[in-house]
């Protein structure tokens, strides 16, 4: 018998998280029980090792970067609020939210914030630019040892060439957004199942074919 009963989420906290992230009551309780099951130390926070214990995440080539996204600058523990705040980026954009009060602050799962999340997976030093090195790092993580440095370098160069508009040989957030169209991204949280489909950003295929 663990100490789960003593760390049940209070109603006020659920309300606050609901307001901040937009998740429903049942989604929050479901994710809370997931949080506590990952928290092996039972101290109300997750460390990087707790995430690494998920086998499917440990074998993900970008696993470390994704885990990093949960931890604020320089910290080693994330509490439930922080956990939910990061997950909120993946919540689907519902129609009734579009007509909300325009003066209210932008919801965590807005298009821009979703793209910002993706941008920050590349931009490790948080200087608001994806440099050639940062792009190469992410590419190397995804391909492992299977592609040579030269080939990888040319892929990186080509990608920057297409996206870069102001000639500084790196990709800023505005250039990142313009790379393609945001097709659709949604998460629906049922009782047992959370699925995330991915953003399709299409690069102009004509440019690619003709540049070879």
């Amino acid at each position: 018998m663990g100490s789960r009963a003593s760390t049940l989420l209070r109603e006020e906290e659920i309300e606050e998280i609901k307001k901040e992230t937009g998740f429903s009551h049942s989604q929050i309780t479901r994710l809370y029980s997931r949080f506590t099951s990952l928290d092996k130390g039972e101290n109300g926070t997750l460390s990087r090792e707790d995430f690494q214990r998920i086998p499917e995440l440990a074998i993900n080539p970008l696993g470390d970067r994704i885990i990093n996204a949960f931890f604020p600058e320089g910290e080693d523990q994330v509490n439930f609020r922080g956990f939910m705040r990061t997950l909120a980026h993946f919540r689907p954009i519902e129609d009734n939210e579009k007509n909300k009060d325009p003066t209210a602050s932008e919801p965590l799962n807005s298009r821009t914030n979703k793209l910002l999340f993706a941008f920050q997976l590349y931009d490790l030093d948080r200087d608001d630019k994806i440099s050639r090195d940062e792009l190469l790092q992410v590419l190397r993580m995804m391909v492992g040892v299977n592609i040579s440095d030269e080939q990888l370098g040319s892929i990186a160069d080509r990608t920057i060439q297409e996206a870069d508009q102001n000639g500084d040989n790196s990709i800023s957030f505005n250039e990142f957004i313009k790379v393609g169209n945001l097709q659709h991204i949604y998460v629906w949280a049922g009782d047992h199942y959370l699925i995330l489909t991915y953003i399709l950003l299409s690069v102009l295929q004509d440019c690619l074919c003709s540049s070879v």
């Binding site: 086998p55 995804m142 991915y198």
Partner: protein, 401 residues
Amino acid sequence: CSELLPLAIWLSELYWSIVDWATHRIERGAKDNNHLLYKPYSNGDNRDLDHASEFEMSDIFYFCRQGVESIMDDEVTKRFSAEELESWNLLTRSNYNFQHISLRLTVLWGLGVVIRYGFLLPLRVTLAFTGVGLLVVLTSIIGFLPNGRMKNFLSEQVHLMCYRICVRALTAIITYHDSENKPKNGGICVANHTSPIDVIILASDGCYAMVGQIHGGLMGVIQKSMVKACPHIWFERSEVKDRHLVAKRLSDHVEDKTKLPILIFPEGTCINNTSVMMFKKGSFEIGSTVYPVAIKYDPRFGDAFWNSSQFGMVNYLLRMMSSWAIVCSVWYLPPMTREEGEDAVQFANRVKAAIARQGGLVDLLWDGGLKRGKVKDTFKEEQQKLYSKMLVGTQEDRSRS
């Protein structure tokens, strides 16, 4: 004290028949309403990296999606802790998210505690001691007999009787399906593993040769006396590492048709009975007939999963004996043999799929060893290789055109 034993047996029989009646009512009710008591599950896999394409900045979203999905809910970590119930069964140990609902429920729960700990537990402990004691004593006596048919016959009877007493000690309501497929001599019986009780459940319906490591203490005493009556396969701790030795002893045993079928749990560790994890290929390399058995517990009466990192054996047995009952179904599946061109791993996966399908369990390829150990880097390297193939494949096509 000797008057208490028949009373204990009689009371236990009474309780057993009450629970038995209750389970049959539930199952009949479920059939009438077309409910599936044991939900079937299909493991879908949707990878989108089949078509070759150029690198796009959005490619990270494929991995990002998989990563966040696995953070929200993954297939593996939840197999190593007890299954969550949909509604409470009045046992505190199954109380995860259910808050205080009403006074009446608390009173009911209190009554339950009194009945379970004050009444059922002493009853069951008495029976358990009787069963184990009889097993040790009688098998040692039989050990003195000369080898032959009489000895085997007596040994079978003794084993069955003692295991049946132990079954009563746990108040285990077991439904055996398809008994015509019961394992025969010279075969290997494989089953999914949830707890040490699996052994008692299977052995009370048929005689098997057990395989395992020799322990010290009480377990060791039981093991040594059992092997006097009929040949079980016990290994020293040092011998367990030597795979060839293990395989040789197993194949020697199955070749002798007078010896009993071997009982093996290929997962190698206890899983929480919602899924079947990777089968170790050792037992499938031997080349004899495999008799798969699926065991599914009903968690409403008491959760049988042994989380060995949470409690030790004695603690676990006490918890078992203070639940309401252990209700389970055992399916004997038709025997399988390795086909032409199939290697041990494929054969193991085929058997595993059959067991998972019958028991309504999720069929996973993950290794049960992940309970304690880290996942191998080779899996990550496989993913990287697949992604690279997608990128590089395009280069090759383009250079051709």
